[in-house]
Symmetry: D2
Amino acid sequence: MVLKIGVIGTGAIGQDHIRRITNTLSGGKIVAVTDVNQEQAKAVVKNQNLDAVIYDDGHELIKSEDVDAVVVTSWGPTHEEFVLAAIQAGKPVFCEKPLATTAEGCKRIVDAEITHGKPLVQVGYMRRYDTGYRALKKVIESGQIGEALMVHCAHRNPTVPDTYTGDMSIVDTFIHEIDVLRWLLNDDYVSVQIVAPRKTSKALEHLQDPIMVLLETKQGVRIDAEVFVNCQYGYDIQCQVVGETGIANLPEPSSVVLRSEAKKSTEILVDWKDRFIDSYDTELQDWINSTLKGEVNGPTAWDGYVAAVTSDACLEAKKSGNIVPISLGERPDFYYKTLTAAGKL
Amino acid sequence: MVLKIGVIGTGAIGQDHIRRITNTLSGGKIVAVTDVNQEQAKAVVKNQNLDAVIYDDGHELIKSEDVDAVVVTSWGPTHEEFVLAAIQAGKPVFCEKPLATTAEGCKRIVDAEITHGKPLVQVGYMRRYDTGYRALKKVIESGQIGEALMVHCAHRNPTVPDTYTGDMSIVDTFIHEIDVLRWLLNDDYVSVQIVAPRKTSKALEHLQDPIMVLLETKQGVRIDAEVFVNCQYGYDIQCQVVGETGIANLPEPSSVVLRSEAKKSTEILVDWKDRFIDSYDTELQDWINSTLKGEVNGPTAWDGYVAAVTSDACLEAKKSGNIVPISLGERPDFYYKTLTAAGKL
Amino acid sequence: MVLKIGVIGTGAIGQDHIRRITNTLSGGKIVAVTDVNQEQAKAVVKNQNLDAVIYDDGHELIKSEDVDAVVVTSWGPTHEEFVLAAIQAGKPVFCEKPLATTAEGCKRIVDAEITHGKPLVQVGYMRRYDTGYRALKKVIESGQIGEALMVHCAHRNPTVPDTYTGDMSIVDTFIHEIDVLRWLLNDDYVSVQIVAPRKTSKALEHLQDPIMVLLETKQGVRIDAEVFVNCQYGYDIQCQVVGETGIANLPEPSSVVLRSEAKKSTEILVDWKDRFIDSYDTELQDWINSTLKGEVNGPTAWDGYVAAVTSDACLEAKKSGNIVPISLGERPDFYYKTLTAAGKL
Amino acid sequence: MVLKIGVIGTGAIGQDHIRRITNTLSGGKIVAVTDVNQEQAKAVVKNQNLDAVIYDDGHELIKSEDVDAVVVTSWGPTHEEFVLAAIQAGKPVFCEKPLATTAEGCKRIVDAEITHGKPLVQVGYMRRYDTGYRALKKVIESGQIGEALMVHCAHRNPTVPDTYTGDMSIVDTFIHEIDVLRWLLNDDYVSVQIVAPRKTSKALEHLQDPIMVLLETKQGVRIDAEVFVNCQYGYDIQCQVVGETGIANLPEPSSVVLRSEAKKSTEILVDWKDRFIDSYDTELQDWINSTLKGEVNGPTAWDGYVAAVTSDACLEAKKSGNIVPISLGERPDFYYKTLTAAGKL
Ligand SMILES: [Mg+2]
Ligand SMILES: [Mg+2]
Ligand SMILES: [Mg+2]
Ligand SMILES: [Mg+2]
C-alpha cells in the first residue's frame, strides 16, 4: 500500500521532503505538487523525475481525489489556510513549522480538528525523531536519574545572515527547544524570563546575542537555555537533564577521534542541516507509516499551538525583562485520548 | 523505476533483507523468494505481506523473467552455485558472506564474471557502509594523519554460543576486519602471524580466546588485532590508525552521557546486531541504486576472493604459530577498470 | 630560611595545615599552637611530634617573638579578632574562610591593613590554586575563546548532614564559586537573583535544594550556577566559560577509563576533600614562599570583604526572590597597587 | 628528623632533584654535592643557595660522616661504581636509571646488597609513582577487570634529536615500559619479539621508527607496545589492560576541554618533562620517608637488574627479528622477603 502525497510549496524544504519520499523512504509517492512559483514546481517535477501532477494552487491539490495526504512546505503565513483546508477535506496533513504564525491561528486549527473528530495534523518538529533526544528521553523514563529537577541547554549557531532579526532567536531558533523540551520532560511551561548577557562583538549591531532563556514548568523544573547564534565555533546543541539521583546529557554526534598537532579532538558540525539530517528521514517515514494506519504519531496541532503561545511569551519576556506567565488552558481531552489510544500516556 | 528482486534463502538474514527492502528502502521490490524449507518461504511471504512468487529452487528463481536481480542469503555452502548461475543468467547478484566456502570457489566466480565481461557480483561486507568507518577513511584520505604506518584494532564479543569453534574466530569474526582494513588502507596483506595470550577462564575449554592477529601489508603497515569473543563486557569494535603525523580512531557509537552512582558513563552495546544495523540499510540501498544504474559499487567478487585467501592463511598461522605469507596474485585488470570507471581509483 | 609559624585553632583543618607544613611542604615550621581546647592542642603537638610551644590563647601566640607568621583556623566568629591582632603586631596572617562573619567585620580588617600600610592578610580560598582552574584561566587569558560572555557552572555534593541549613548553601558551599569566578574573569558582581527549582525528595524537609544562582558582572557576563547539595551521585564541580569565539570547560579530575558491564566509565569523586586536596598544598606552599619574600600573593582581605558582601546579597536574593544589587564601592588603591606591584594587573 | 643527602652529579636531573629536595619536599636536606665538573657543582650550590659541602669526588662524598644517604645522578657508566661504594659504606642510595650499563653490572650490585644483608638501593623508575599508573594498578588489583590477559600500549615522542640511535628506542625510551608493566601486572617477562612497521618519513635515515615490541609474561599475558619517537603530534603514553571481564586504560593527563574552530579538543603534552613531573616529587618524597624509616619502598636493585636483562633481549630481538627468550633466574629470597615485610606481597 502506497500513500499518495501532494506537496504544497516546492522551495528548499519542500524539495528535500520530495526527494526523501521518492528516493530514500518507503511507502509514499509524490503524486501532486504546487507552488506560487509554477516554474519552480515544474522544474522540481522534471529534475526529480516525478510522476506527479502540477496543480494551480494548494486548494485544488487538496481537493484532488488522487491525493491521500498533504505536505505543507509553503511560506509560513499560508500554513494555516492550507491546514484548515486539509482538515475540511478530511485529509492527513504534515505541516512544517510554524503551524500558523499566531497562537490564534493555531487555536483555530486545533478547534477545526476537534470538530472534525479525528486527528489529521502533524507539525514538523523533527527533533523528537533524533536518536539522541530519544535515547535521552529513554534514560529519563527509565528512572535512572530520578525525577527531573533542572535542564541546562544551549542552542548555538556559528553565524546568522544579515536578515536574522532579534525575534528570530525565539521563533526560528529557540522554537525547537520549546517543542522538544516539553516532550522530553512530558511537562508544560508556566513562565519565562529572558536575560541579556554581554553582547558578542561578532553579532550585527541590532542583534542582542547571546540571550539566556529561563523557563519554569508545571512540575517546577527550571530550564536555563543559552541561545547564541554567532558563537563562531560550530553548530552545537547541548541538553543536560539534572535529576534527583543522576544527570543525563544529550549525546554529541559521533566523530573520529583525532590526535594531531598537540590536540586530541573530535569534530563539531558547522552546518545545522547535518545535525538533524537523519531525524527528517525518521520523521517522514514515521508520518507515512502512521498515516497509512490512520494515526497521528508525531507532534500534534495542540503541540503547534503550545509552541506558538510559549513563543509569544518569550518575545514579551525578551522585550520587557519581566517574568512572563505562560497560560495554555487545559489540553483538550481530544489530544489526551489520542495519545492514550496510541499507548503514549 | 523499481528493481525486481528475488531472494534465495529466507532464514534470519534473508528475512531481514526482505523487510528492509520492503519497508525501509526505496527502489526495490521483492517479487520472488525460495528456500530449501518451502514452508518457511511461504510463512515469510505471508507474514511480511509480500506480493511475491515462491519458487521451488534457486535456479528457477534466477531464470525467471520477472526477476531483475538476485539476493543470495542461503546456507553458505550453496552460495557459489547460485552466484555462478546468476552470472550465467547475466543477472546482478548480492551474495552474503562468504562468497564461497573456499578460495578456489571464489576464484571460479571471479573467472566466470571476467568471462561474462561486466561486473555483476557484490559481497555482503557491510562495514564499508558504516558511517564510522567511512568517516575514518575520509580522515586518512584527507592527509590529516600522513601515511598510515600501523593499525591497532579489536573485535570483542561479550560471549559466543557453545557451537562456536576456534576456526570461527577467523572465518566468522575476524573476516570483517580482513575485508574492512584493506579497504580502509587501500592496501593488501602479505603475511600473517597469530599469537595466543593467556586464555580467559570464561571461554569454553576447546576455545583459545583471545587471540592476537598480526598482519603486514604491501605498504609495510603493521596491523595488530585482538579477537576476543568472550570479553563479557560488551560488543566492542575498535580501530586506531597511526599515521606519520597523527592518529585517528574509529568513532564509538554515540550515547547518552550519564552521571550516576559515582560514575560518568556511556553505554557499550552488547548485541552485535545493533552495532552495524544502519550499515545494512545503507549497503542494500546502495546496491539497489547501483544495480539500477548497471554498476557494482560495493565489495566485488575479487574482494570475496581476497577475504577467502587471507582467511585461509590466518587459519594456518593460528595452527602453526608461524608467519604465513599471503599470496593473491595480481588483481585482474577487470576489477581495476571497473573501479576506475566508477571514479574509485 | 624557615618561616616560623603559629597556628590558632587545632581542629580538623588546623591539624591538616599543621601536617602539610610539617610533612609535605618546604620552608615552614610549626613553632606555636593554641586552641580553646588546650587538651586538643596538646594532643596535636604530641601526635604530630611537633617541636612547638602551646600558648594559652591566640593573642599571646601572635605576640610571641618566636612566631613569624600566623595561621588562623579557629572557629569562624573568632577570625576577625585574631586577624586584627596579627595586623596590629605587623605579622603576616593566613586566615581560613570566612575572613570575618560579617561584611562590616571584613571591612574593619581591610581598613586596618590599609592603615598598617603593607599587605599582611591572605584568605584561604584554595580553588585559585587548583591546577584545573588555573589552566582554565590561562585559556581565557590566552584569547582562545575571545571575551567571556557567560559562565555555566555547578557545585554538587552527594549529600549534606542534618545540621546543614539553607544559608549554608551560600556561605559554606557557593562561597567558593563567589571567590573563584571573579578571580577567573577578573571582574566583579553587580547583581544576583536566585530561583528555586523543584525540590529533590532526597533533601531534608527544611532545605530548598537545588537552587539556581544568577549573577551579573560589571562587564555584563551572566553566570548561572546550580548549587545542589544532595545530588547523590558524587562531588562534582563544573565550570564552563562561553566566550565570543569558543568555550572552555574546567578539566574533570583524571581517572582510569573502565570498560565493564556494558559501560565505558570514569570515576566521579564522592568526597569533597579529595577534589581540591592538591590545591591546599599549593596554596600553603605559595603562602610560605610569598611570606618569606614579604608579599601577599593569594586572596587578599579585600577579596574576603567582596565574598562577604556578595554572600549577603545572595542570602537576601534567596529570601526575597528579587534581583538584588551588589555594591562594593571602589577597590582601594592599596590593593590595586599591591597587585600591580606583583605583576598581576 | 632530617635526612642529610649527598648528590653525585649536578647535571640537569641532579639539579632538578636538588631543587625539589630543597624547595618542594619535606624531610631532606642537601648537605653535600660533587661533580666531575667542579665549576658546575659550585654554580649549583651558589644558584640554589645551598648550605652544602662540595666534595672532590663521589667516593669522598659517600664516605663523609655528614652524609646519611646518597643520590646518584652522574653519567650512566659511573652508576655501578658509586652504588657499590654506597653499599660498602652501608648507606642508602637512590640511583637514577640505569642502575648499571650492563646486566652483569646490575647483578654485581644485587649480589653486594644481598651480602650486605639489608636493602639500601632504589632505582629511579618514576612511573611507579605516577598517580595514573597507580590508579590503573589499583583497578587491576580490585578485580574489576578479572585476570589480565593482554596489554596494549604506546610510547610516543613528538621528535628526537639527531643523536638518538636505534638502541635508544629500547634503553632510553621503552625501558620505562619494561619497568612499569611488570610492576603493574606483578609478573615477569619470558620472551620478546620486535617487528618493524613501515618507517615514517619524519625519522632520520638511520632510525627504524616506529617499532612494535611484543612481550610475553610468565602468566601468559601478551603485551604489544608501539614505540614511536617521531610521531610529531605530542608526547603520548598509552596503556590499556585487557582483563577477563573488563578493560582499564591509563588516565590521560587532565586538560581544559576547548570548543573552538569546529573542534572539541583537549591538549596533548609535547614535552615529556611535563608528563611525569609530579611523579618525580612523589618518588623522592617517598624515598626520603622510607629511608628515614630504614626501608626501601621503590624499585629495587633486582628491578634494575631485570630491566637490564630485558633490555638486552629487546636489543637482540630488534636485530635478529627472532623471538628471544628472557631468562632471569629466580628472584632472590632477599627481595621477596623485603617486599613481604613491607606488606607488598
Ligand atoms: Mg522540521
Ligand atoms: Mg554482511
Ligand atoms: Mg580554604
Ligand atoms: Mg627516573
